[in-house]
Amino acid sequence: MERRQSVELYLGIGLIMVLTAFAVMAPFFTNYDPHQTDAERWLQSPGREHFFGTDRLGRDIYSRVVYGARVSLAVGILAMLLSITVGTALGSLAGYFGGFADQLIMRLTDIVLVFPTMLLALTLVAIFEPAIWLVVLVIGGTGWPAVARLVRGEILRLKSLEFAAASRMLGASHWRVLLVHLLPNALGPILVAATVAVPAAIMTEAGLGYFGLGIQPPIPTWGNMLREAQNYIRYAWWYATFPGAAIFLTVFAFHLIGEGLRQRINPMSQVGRGRRAYYH
């Protein structure tokens, strides 16, 4: 593998920093209230007043896209934290202790993994009322098995190395070996998994919003903006274009970071083999 300066990593981090700045300081970057309707100026094309035009109720699309970043980033990061925490905990338990715990945890991941994420998310959101916490819970709750498998494989590998045995011989408890010696060594792949989990969560959230089953209006989200825009694409190209471009840019930036990190620590060597390693 050739080593080259990873432009991707820095480009991705830069983009995310800019996006986060916009999301956090949304009022400073916008001239209009995202909820402010204007009956005189609905569906105006982009111009000096409204950079991204206005929507069917005369709301400023630019402001709504900027405020929408808050929801997307919050959901993405919270769902990622949830799936990484649960996945790391279960995966390392399964990998380190093996035996019955391993069987139990791995069958559980299998069961969750055979449901397509979007279908499971749709079903759960349809059963309960859609709300921000539920969307986070559902996306995080469907995202952990992939992390669990990754961490389990990594712990299995590390467990068999000399330093783990040495630490046991020096009298360290199982928990100490796992938490102090093995997990820190697995942080690289976990970090990559985390940077992949955020864009996946953002995409699912936007998809749910687009189907009308995500976070509900009037809270502006990129997904529910696209849903509203759908009926107007014939007359107003800007209506659907900008919220979608925002999703694309955000997800792309996270993927760039993931790619950059992957080139550095290269856990790609696990992909495609991870599953086999686990069945045999």
Partner: protein, 315 residues
């Protein structure tokens, strides 16, 4: 043989888990469809009788058992909205979905194998980097947005292709269906191609870095011979894995594509049923999709044994 039995056992456990999850997911739903709309003011005795007819009144484990035995007999119950058997409704919509997903799967995978192999052979070259960045962008495109953009460009901007549906009324020609197919197919292919290509490139470059390839080159075999005789057969194992594991992805793609382009298939039906809380439909679809995915994972493992004789000996 032990390995095989082990895998069969695992699949059985997963399938059982899937039925339990689906069943209890639905039953944790607050209320039933007749309660969804309080303005209906239904006669309580009628509601009770309806629950009895739908077998929704017994204790949970009993309901689960009777539900499971009905599922085994292929009886997925009646749709609450259409008042017709779920199975019938699904089978009506299946051909449309297959018409969309099967070509999308084959085209995306075929293209990915060609482009991925090409990129791996020219690692670090311009085409490789372009493909790497392009597929990263392809993975970042929200599929529904891509669909909307395609529709805006090619149905409304330039009115070349139909924006919705599978056929024009009173036109049953094949070319009519084909023109309806182009946009949703494109949308599906972009996503899954980007996904497959990265794995193919990785699998091929992994094989290329091994000693026997260098030896084959040293022996003076042509590059084409090496690629087809040595590289692709050895790279086929991870490619089969990713193809089998991508089934849920394909399903989600169909869901979105059918919804965006009003394609009269299973995906669109599921979304509509989900919004209307048509429980028997949601249950049946969850169950059959999950079972299908579990079985395709098993199939992938069986394919390994077929492809790689070494595993047969080990097993």
């Amino acid at each position: 043989m032990r390995l095989l039995l082990n895998r069969l056992g695992q699949t059985a456990i997963v399938l059982f888990g899937v039925t339990v999850v689906t069943f209890f997911m639905m039953h944790s739903a607050p209320g039933h469809p007749l309660q969804a709309n309080p303005e209906l003011r239904l006669d309580p005795t009628a509601v009770e009788r309806w629950l009895e007819l739908q077998e929704l009144d017994g204790p949970l484990p009993a309901q689960y058992i009777s539900w499971l035995s009905r599922m085994f007999r292929g009886d997925f119950g009646m749709s609450l909205i259409y008042s017709r058997p779920v199975k019938e409704l699904a089978l009506e919509r299946l051909p449309a979905t297959l018409l969309l997903t099967v070509p999308a799967f084959l085209l995306a995978l075929g293209l990915a194998i060609i482009c991925g192999t090409w990129a791996a052979l020219r690692q670090g070259g311009f085409a490789d980097r372009l493909l790497g960045l392009g597929t990263l962008a392809g993975l970042s495109l929200p599929s529904f947005w891509l669909g909307i953009i395609l529709m805006m460009l090619f149905s409304y901007g330039y009115p070349w292709l139909p924006a919705a549906g599978m056929r024009t009324a009173e036109d049953s020609s094949v070319s009519d269906i084909l023109t309806h197919l182009i946009l949703p197919l494109t949308m599906l292919i972009v996503g899954s191609f980007s996904y497959y290509v990265r794995y193919v490139r990785y699998a091929v470059s992994d094989v290329l870095s091994q000693d026997f390839i260098r030896i084959a080159r040293a022996r003076g075999f042509t590059e084409i011979y090496i690629v087809f005789r040595h590289v692709l057969p050895n790279a086929s194992l991870p490619i089969v894995t990713v193809a089998a594991l991508s089934l849920p992805l394909l399903f989600t793609g169909a869901l979105v594509a059918e919804y965006v382009f009003s394609w009269p298939g299973i995906g669109r039906w599921i979304i509509i049923s989900t919004m209307a809380r048509d429980y028997p439909v949601i249950m049946a679809v969850n169950l059959s999709t999950a079972a299908l995915v579990a079985l395709s994972n098993l199939l992938a493992d069986l394919l390994y044994l077929l492809i790689d004789p070494r595993l047969r000996i080990k097993a």
